[in-house]
Amino acid sequence: MNRGMLKFAAAALAVSWMGLAMAAPDVGQAQKQALNVHAIVMFFIFVMMTLGITYWAAKRTKSASDYYAAGGGITGTQNGLAIAGDYMSAATLLGLTSMTYFQGFDGYIYCICFYVGWPFIMFIMAERLRNLGKFTFADITSYRLDQRRVRTVAAIGSLTVVVFYLIAQMVGAGQLIKLLFGMEYWMAVVIVGVLMVIYVTFGGMIATTWVQIIKACLLLGGGTLVMLLAFSQFGFSLETLATKAVENSKKGMALMAPGAFLSDPVTAVSLSLGLMFGTAGLPHILMRFFTVPNAKEARKSVFIATLCVGFFFTVVAIMGLSAITIVGTNPQYFEGGDLAGKLLGGGNMPAMHLAHAVGGNLMLGFLSAVAFATILAVVAGLALAGASAISHDLYANVIRQGQATEAEEVRVSKMSSLGLGVIAVLLGIAFEKQNVAFMVGLAFGVAASCNFPVLILSMYWKGLTTRGAIWGSIAGLVSAVLIVVLSKAVWVTVLGNKDPIFPYEQPAIFSMPIAFFFAWLGSVTEKSARAAKEIEAFEDQYVRAQTGFGAAGAAAH
């Protein structure tokens, strides 16, 4: 491949796949399809089941701890599945299958970059998170610092991540459901919004956790089934699978080696950093660590989550490779039956077409329902995290300064989730025709630059003071947002300017060091008596982080 083509391919990758793979797939202006009855029936069953669980959970949700953290009563294995559920979005299924379908091994590299954050979370973060946190990650960053100011910036960071991620998911949901279910865009968005608010408002963390668990099982089960059916057509032989794929793909042998993925090392490293540390700064993932009773179970959850995520990525890669032969040589999946033309429904469809090819309409319906359920579960987790940032951080600890009763706090949280639901639906509809891929990059960028540096410093660095935490958060937030806005994704694609002001789209490699630098600078230059006290208080925090003594325990019931 010559240099020009490489560049083009890299640019195409950067623009489309990153967004695709990380969140709701940007399926563009999807064509509305015929009503898919199998899918609708199966989705209906899922909804009924989750509503039943929400009813059951609502009766068990009494205290604030029940509401935010399921009373600390989730086991490690359950939580591991739920974390995997939070992490594997519809785009993991559709976007990564399609990336392997078109790019071969590059798709799998992407999976590996996505995956490597998990061992890191296990070794460096899991037990300290559990030992120090209660309901939100701001509990940890503000542990020995000024509650009001630190929680305010932490809440801004959380809400920024949640809102951008929510919009991307909503738009993705609308497009996907229009495509798979043959439903109107706005209807799909409203259904997702309403169900999300019901789960979160009535069932709190207990319902959200179970919705995640069911969704994770469905996604793992459905994906594995399709993969096995597809792989069986190649006699479960990697060699046969590869030979056929190479024969049937335009890319030929290029499928078997890394291609355009890392042709721009800055973008690649930045993307890796963003994925890895962004994961460790996503408020809805961090919150999950407070639902287990102790550090032992927290570690177990990461172990299970890592297994599920790694396994699923491998399933997805095999699906993508199989689809090259099974879908790519079947004219019925191409517009006008033209094998050289576009895939029906767009570039994100290989997984769905594969399901249809190996299991008929029933399997297609099933996988479509799973994709819808997946979006629903992810937005529920996001909404709960956003509502908690508003009620637990902003309302209870900043506005009321710890004087609010539990009942008041939970009531505010429920109203907030309703508010977030309304905002998500309205923005989802407003952004229908926009390219929202950048919003996911932004969510991960802000998580990695605004939330993660201060979180990790508060746990590991004695010298962090209130001013350092605030400077670090704000510097990370501002630089990540600015870089994305001035890059091609927003400046050119969304705002319609000719050339981007900033050449790179992935902010992490720049914005993370900026955040760390300002957190350090703000801390070492602060010489007040309060700062000295904060540094002194690290000792106790350190003992608690290490031993778990004094950690918020499981609820009494």
């Binding site: 999976c111 590996i112 060699e239 080696a257 890796s272 032992k296 172990f303 890592t306």
Partner: protein, 103 residues
């Protein structure tokens, strides 16, 4: 109240032992994971065709796939290694320390 307990825990030599043992173990594993990952990314960036080597002589399937899957499996097994020690050996020392401090 808890501040006194924390003070007692901190003065217990076993606490230092626990912290240094566990940190050393966690950071070693982190270094191994990041090291392997970094080598992989470097190969991808600077010598991608190395990964195109066929698994079987004359075959099409490249070693890239099993290497990728092997990394995923290895990293997962390493998280398993960590919790085996952390939930066993380290947690035993931990509960001993806490028991000693609250009595």
């Amino acid at each position: 109240m808890s501040s006194e307990v924390y003070e007692r825990i901190r003065r217990n030599p076993k606490f230092d032992e626990l912290v240094s043992k566990r940190s050393r173990f966690a950071w070693t594993l982190t270094a191994v994971v990041l090291g392997i990952y970094f080598i992989f990314i470097m190969v991808v960036a600077f010598n991608p065709m190395l990964l195109a080597t066929p698994i079987w002589e004359g075959g099409k399937a490249s070693i890239a796939w099993p290497i990728g899957a092997g990394m995923i499996l290895l990293f997962w097994l390493m998280t398993g290694l960590y919790i085996r020690r952390a939930n066993g050996e380290f947690d035993d020392i931990n509960s001993e320390i806490i028991k000693g401090a609250i009595e």
